[in-house]
Amino acid sequence: MSMMTAAIAANRFGLGAKPGDLASIKSDPQGWLLAQLDGAQADPAPIAALPSTADDFQAFGRWAIQYAAQSADRNVPPFVLNRLRRQVPAVLKDKNGAQLGAEESVYATFKDRYRTAVRARFDAAVQSETPFRERLVHFWSNHFVVSSKKISAFPMPPSYERDVARSHVTGRFLDMLMASSKHPAMLHYLDNSYSVGPNSRWGKNPSEAPTLPVIGRMEGLNENLAREILELHTVGVNGGYSQTDVRNFAKVITGWMVKRGRSVFANRGLRGQSAAELFEFNPNAHEPGPQTVMGKVYAQDGVEQGEAVLLDLSRHPKTAEFIATKLVRYFIGDDPPPAAVKRVADAFLASDGDLKATATALVRSPEAWEEPLAKVKQPEEYLISGVRALGGPDISGEELEQVLSQMGQPTYMQPGPDGWHDVAAEWIGPDPIWKRLEWANDASIETAQTELAPTRLGELVLGPVLSEPTKRVLEGSASPAQGFALLLVSPEFLRR
């Protein structure tokens, strides 16, 4: 195997080479990638230290009650409020004493939790010895998006990512789909927790349905999750479903909601529960009777009806094609080569959605090894690869939040449920290049990297991808720091 193959493995499939990586993997770069898919892996230390799913969820509930009590949306006994304030002190007013809007209040209350999680995700990526696996976690997290842009999901994306993308990254697609569709974060993010079947008990007797602080009374069918499962998670927008299918599928998953404690949002008794234990099928909201989705009648009762639809969706050829296209676009090129898509889709179908087999087909695709610089790095991966190469700097969660926002990719804040878009037009242009130059300059000055000459570092992390013209510019740099900055903004480093 060549150093070129090693460079592609470390930078395209991994999260960027550290000095020494290429030499240690060059004997078998593909083997190095495939070994990372073996077996279960403990959560990286920074991720393991984050709050539990139940804690993120309860924290939001505690904020919601305090906020609702302030807006006179709900009467809460003072002793309850006092206890909630001790647990999660909600920030309800700005520094001038004016009441904050819900979004501002959520942000102010949870921004430290958010920054800690952003830092943890970044550190796990920078430190990872299995960076291909880590990159796949990022891919799946952005496929089954839950974004903090929606306030009712604000604190949840980090624990959701761990429960869904990280836990199942080399498992079965069906398990990841099921975990996502039943996760409290997703049920909030795409509103299914508030969806009521028109002929369900609560649909017929709306006064019996609970009233939720901030959100209001649960009433009516909400199609959001059903639509996005079809459009974004499984068969894709051209998957052959109709608006009637969306509606029927929405009816199928009515009653899929977050378990409620005795007090709706206080969630007493939920402590320590896993995401799966926080899921509840509530027959009071469930639309009774058989439903037809994409030509098949589902006559099951209860939660099994929706599980049967998800099973069929996970095995649908359009799902295989949609997933394969996204994976190939992410790992091979903006315009996915049809042969590679077919190979990956076939592996997905033949293995019944085994994500390890699917990722293996990707690694085994010759197209992935032809063009070393096919993909423009997105802002977060650019910073990750920069810190891996330089060995620094140490970036706080607050700094990450600021820099990534200014680069247009604040972590866990995808604008919509379709996630970050993965084509060069989104991420390269005048301002992106300039921001990268500013960051590279700042990072290089902060990272007192003096043991290696810039050209040497370039050879170590880019291998033969480092071009002669770039080398000459690095060799002529006025100082090591300047040379490192130039390396990080070289055309070879902006891409992978």
């Binding site: 004493g97 301002d431 740099s477």
Partner: protein
């Protein structure tokens, strides 16, 4: 700033995005007006049109807006007067001054063709210029200016990544404020050598360099004002871009929207300051050639919700403002505020398609032929007539 004239027409988009845009057809263009300046400001989050431009003369206004109705003109914290029927929110005094100078036209009961309630889909539909979210992969503003005879970057997005509205076949620049220290001139010069053999990166870098030369990190202004200051500094350059896009956030006022220091106050105060900053930065001469269009993805509910705010609605208000604008005029076919008048019983009913504003401004301000507008920019819009009289003739 020193903008290099570069004659090549680069393509900003990736192949896939450009390919998804409609094929560029040859059309007879008279060059358009290459001296006029256009700014499009997207108010993201859905501005409450009835808060910004209250219909004080509507007999049902006060009851329909109970709890959040702006007080009449002349009362404490009352509206600022417009044409007698409509008022303007008193948190927008710079806009009111422009009205007084006959430099602001107000459009009301306007909406895009979108009738659902997702911010994201609505914004995408407005930006791509079709009648569907994701109906086209490029943006109408980019397609509109593709043949303007301007060397170099024809437009600039004052945003960290190029939004859909500015993506497409036309080469545009982008710039946004940064909190990081600026790189030294020496580093910038050396970085330039890295891109010598890469046409696309070279163009982006030269464009960014020009954009950031003399910009420092923007100005003392922050937030939206810094964006507007940036837009002004691009547009005032004799050889700079002629079209700018930027955006303001915080308009999703579900709760406590009337409160002083509340979310609407913050959004409007920032907007007001942004306009003042832009006006000061761009200078009198270029201001006289400028039109700024302020639009939002949809309006908000007429009635107050349970948390002293408003929820996602349908029709709302838009502003067309600048030295080139034929201002002091309201453009509104008012639908009324009785329950029966409301769209789905809750929202201001749209009586004008938002594309009418864009079509009017593109035609009358930039001189873009209607044939180009209807074949390339707003492809399903032949039934939407350009709004007349927005621009001084």
């Amino acid at each position: 700033m020193n903008f290099n004239r570069r004659q090549t027409l680069g393509m900003i988009g990736a192949g896939s995005l450009v390919a998804a845009a409609p094929a560029r057809l040859a059309f007879a263009q008279g060059g358009g007006n290459t001296d006029n300046r256009l700014v499009v400001v997207f108010l993201r989050g859905a501005m409450d049109g009835l808060a910004a431009v209250p219909a004080l003369g509507d007999p049902n206004f006060e009851t329909a807006r109970e709890g959040i109705a702006l007080a009449p003109v002349g009362q404490e914290n009352g509206a600022l007067p417009l044409d007698g029927f409509f008022g303007l929110h008193h948190w927008l005094p710079e806009f009111h001054a422009a009205w007084g100078r006959k430099e602001m036209a107000v459009v009301h009961a306007v909406a895009s063709s979108y009738r659902e309630r997702s911010h994201f889909d609505a914004q995408n539909l407005i930006e791509n210029g079709s009648t569907e979210p994701y109906g086209l992969a490029s943006g109408w503003l980019n397609r509109a200016i593709v043949d303007l005879p301007i060397a170099g970057d024809k437009g600039v997005a004052i945003t960290p990544s190029v939004p859909v509205i500015m993506q497409g076949p036309t080469r545009v620049s982008s710039w946004s404020p940064s909190s990081l220290p600026p790189p030294s001139d020496d580093l910038v010069a050396r970085a330039g050598f890295l891109y010598r053999d890469n046409e696309q990166l070279h163009e982006y870098f030269e464009s960014a360099k020009a954009a950031n030369t003399g910009m420092g990190n923007g100005s003392d202004a922050s937030g939206f004002a810094a964006l507007m200051a940036g837009a002004a500094r691009f547009l005032r350059e004799p050889e700079g871009p002629r079209i700018a896009f930027t955006e303001s956030g915080g308009w999703d006022t579900h709760a406590g929207q009337s409160a002083f220091n509340g979310p609407l106050w913050q959004a409007m105060t920032a907007l007001n300051e942004g306009l003042a900053t832009f006006r000061a930065e761009i200078g009198d001469e270029v201001w006289s050639k400028t039109a700024i269009v302020f639009v939002t993805e949809f309006g908000r509910t007429v009635a107050m919700n349970g948390s002293n705010g408003t929820d996602h609605g349908t029709a709302g208000a838009a502003f067309v403002l600048g030295g080139a604008v034929d201002g002091g005029k309201m453009h509104a076919d008012w639908p009324g505020l009785r329950s029966a008048d409301l769209y789905e019983g809750r929202d201001l009913r749209p009586t004008l398609d938002m594309r009418a504003i864009f079509k009017g401004v593109l035609r009358d301000h930039l001189g873009i032929p209607t044939s180009h507008i209807e074949s390339q920019v707003f492809t399903d819009s032949s039934s939407v007539r350009p709004l007349e009289g927005l621009i001084r003739s």
